[in-house]
């Protein structure tokens, strides 16, 4: 509630605040507006140097059509969806298991394992590139979407475990004890008590992991090369084409790539923010 609520301020101050709010919002969003404008521009505008002026015509649809025509974007999109959805599902399951174990059971090495998940989560992941690639090859997963799924699942499980553990640790111990007294086995407790109760956290986590994985470029580059397995970000790089300066198309593709996480974010804003917060600071 700090600073003083603007609702209590004088009308002129309230107006000034609103104006400042909208101006800053506009400035903040300028880069996004730029993408939007560019995606609406015909190629000729760019060649003619009309980068920021009003588009000579609104070529949104044309650009998108061309994006799909000149590249297997539809396929990339599907790959992205497969990788992201499979990863999210896997991460949710694995991290729930690990988080419960780390939050609610006492055993030797618990702190160590917990520390391992935290540390792994903050690793400069670039250092994993070569060994992970070798591992993918060894498992016969190289150049398939499953290589991405396996890597992302493993990496995000670290983060998700840290995050869920905090959340689960906040669940009252009595719920577990009550269930135990009432005759529930440990697995049953997990299923009928823990999972329903952490559903909001799982939702937040799902959105977060979704954005992380969806936006990944580096690992797609390292683990996948054929069109059949490329996700959207990598496909987007392909949009640069060999001989094209098609910023309008790249913008259109970028918009397309940005759309799912942005939409998801808008629909799940509450969970997303709660999730991010819980992941960082226990509230």
């Amino acid at each position: 509630m700090y600073p003083a609520p603007i609702a209590d301020a004088s009308p002129s101050r309230r107006l000034a605040y609103r104006v400042a709010l909208y101006v800053s919002m506009l400035l903040w969003m300028a880069p996004l507006i730029a993408i939007f404008m560019t995606a609406a521009r015909p190629q000729d505008d760019l060649l003619a140097g009309n980068y920021w002026g009003w588009p000579s015509k609104i070529a949104f649809a044309d650009n998108f059509r061309q994006v799909f025509a000149t590249s297997p974007m539809a396929g990339f999109f599907v790959n992205s969806v497969v990788v992201t959805v499979a990863t999210v599902a896997g991460v949710l399951v694995l991290s729930t298991l690990a988080a419960v174990a780390l939050a609610k059971y006492e055993f030797r090495g618990r702190t160590l394992l917990f520390a391992m998940f935290i540390a792994g989560n903050f690793l400069p992941y670039q250092i994993l590139m070569i060994p992970v690639r070798e591992l993918a090859v060894g498992l016969g997963l190289y150049n398939t979407v499953w290589a991405l799924v396996v890597f992302h699942t493993a990496f995000q499980t670290g983060f998700a475990t840290l995050f869920l553990r905090n959340f689960i640790a906040g669940l009252p111990e009595e719920l577990f004890e009550a269930a135990r007294i009432e005759g529930a086995s440990e697995l049953r407790i997990l299923r009928v008590i823990v999972v329903p109760l952490i559903r909001p956290a799982l939702a937040g986590l799902a959105v977060l992991v979704f954005t992380f994985v969806w936006n990944d470029y580096f690992w797609a580059l390292a683990l996948v090369q054929s069109d059949a397995a490329k996700p959207l970000t990598l496909g987007l790089a392909g949009l640069k084409g060999e001989w094209l300066t098609a910023w309008n198309l790249i913008s259109a593709g970028a918009l397309m790539a940005a759309l799912p996480p942005v939409l998801l974010f808008f629909f799940m804003q509450k969970h997303f923010v709660a999730g991010l917060t819980a992941g960082a600071v226990r509230g």
């Binding site: 880069p31 993408i35 298991l97 998940f117 935290i118 903050f122 994993l128 493993a154 499980t157 936006n215």
Partner: protein, 294 residues
């Protein structure tokens, strides 16, 4: 069997629960990290046979002018990136009001968070374009010769940092808004009654309550600053002439373009070592917090 289960249940249950996650995380992440450190002792092109060179890579590294540039840039990143929590906090204070539309406004401010860094990099590269970019146009409009930020060896790193800050500020903003929502109103009320207003109320009453959020966002910001790669790759590819590289990028560049996986691994190891300080710091903090709560 039942007896056995009963006797050992206390550790068997967590063991069963942890088996898969730890196996996966251990083999893919932890083992790979260890392996990467190991590779740093070899001369290796990434596909062919490896030659043991011991500390050779490191010896070369510390004499490599490019490495010093990267290191210096890393320090700049680290310091400037810490503006993110500061700006994020200021913005959070600014946005922490009750207006009907504030939810939407906040959401808009959060958006950079969900955008791919690749996309952000591309957008900012246009923004800086010395001929057609908005920045150049603005400069010309006020009669100043535009500076080609991404071509200027002194400015380039700052230019990229600004782009990366955009996303990072959004991140800190989310955290601080959450932190502000958990401020104890009674403490603020007590502070007001005690005569604190404005800056002093913030400094003595509000800020101390945000300590934990501040710590977390600062540490994560530091780690992000050390990890940043995508932006550099998209905006300058380390240029001009390697002046905007950081360790993460140099490692990639060495491995991919120069075919020197062993050398790259050594760079990664150095980066890892630097980051370990912060990871360790964070760990200690978290675990202590943990113990305090119990």
């Amino acid at each position: 069997m039942r007896q056995l289960w009963l006797r050992h249940q206390s550790w068997l249950t967590p063991a069963l629960l942890l088996f898969l996650p730890v196996l996966l995380f251990g083999t893919v992440i932890v083992a790979s990290a260890v392996q990467s450190v190991w590779f740093g002792f070899f001369d290796w092109d990434g596909t062919g046979p490896k030659t043991w060179v011991g500390l050779g890579n490191y010896r070369e590294l510390f004499g490599d002018p490019q490495f010093l540039v990267s290191l210096k840039n890393n320090v700049i990143w680290l310091v400037l990136f810490l503006l993110a929590p500061v700006i994020g906090l200021a913005l959070a204070l600014f946005l922490n009001q009750n207006l009907p539309e504030i939810r939407v406004v906040k959401a808009v401010f959060f958006i950079p968070l969900v955008l791919a860094h690749v996309i952000i990099g591309v957008v900012f590269a246009w923004f800086y374009d010395p001929t057609f970019g908005l920045l150049a146009m603005a400069a010309r409009a006020i009669g100043v010769t535009p500076v080609a930020i991404l071509s200027n060896e002194h400015l380039v790193t700052f230019g990229i940092i600004v782009a990366a800050l955009w996303a990072q500020v959004a991140f800190c903003l989310v955290l601080f808004l959450a932190g502000l929502s958990q401020i104890d109103h009674e403490l603020v009320a007590a502070g007001r009654l005690d005569g604190a207003t404005g800056w002093r109320l913030f400094r003595f009453i509000v800020l101390p309550q945000l300590k934990s959020v501040t710590f977390v966002s600062a540490i994560i910001t530091v780690i992000m600053s050390l990890r940043n790669f995508d932006m550099i790759s998209v905006m300058t590819q380390g240029g001009p002439y390697g002046r905007s590289t950081v360790l993460a990028y140099q490692m990639y560049d060495a491995t991919i373009f120069s075919y020197r996986a062993g050398y790259g691994a050594a760079i990664a190891t150095v980066l890892f070592a630097i980051m370990s300080i912060y990871i360790g710091w964070f760990l200690v903090h978290t675990l202590r917090e943990e113990r305090r709560r119990r």
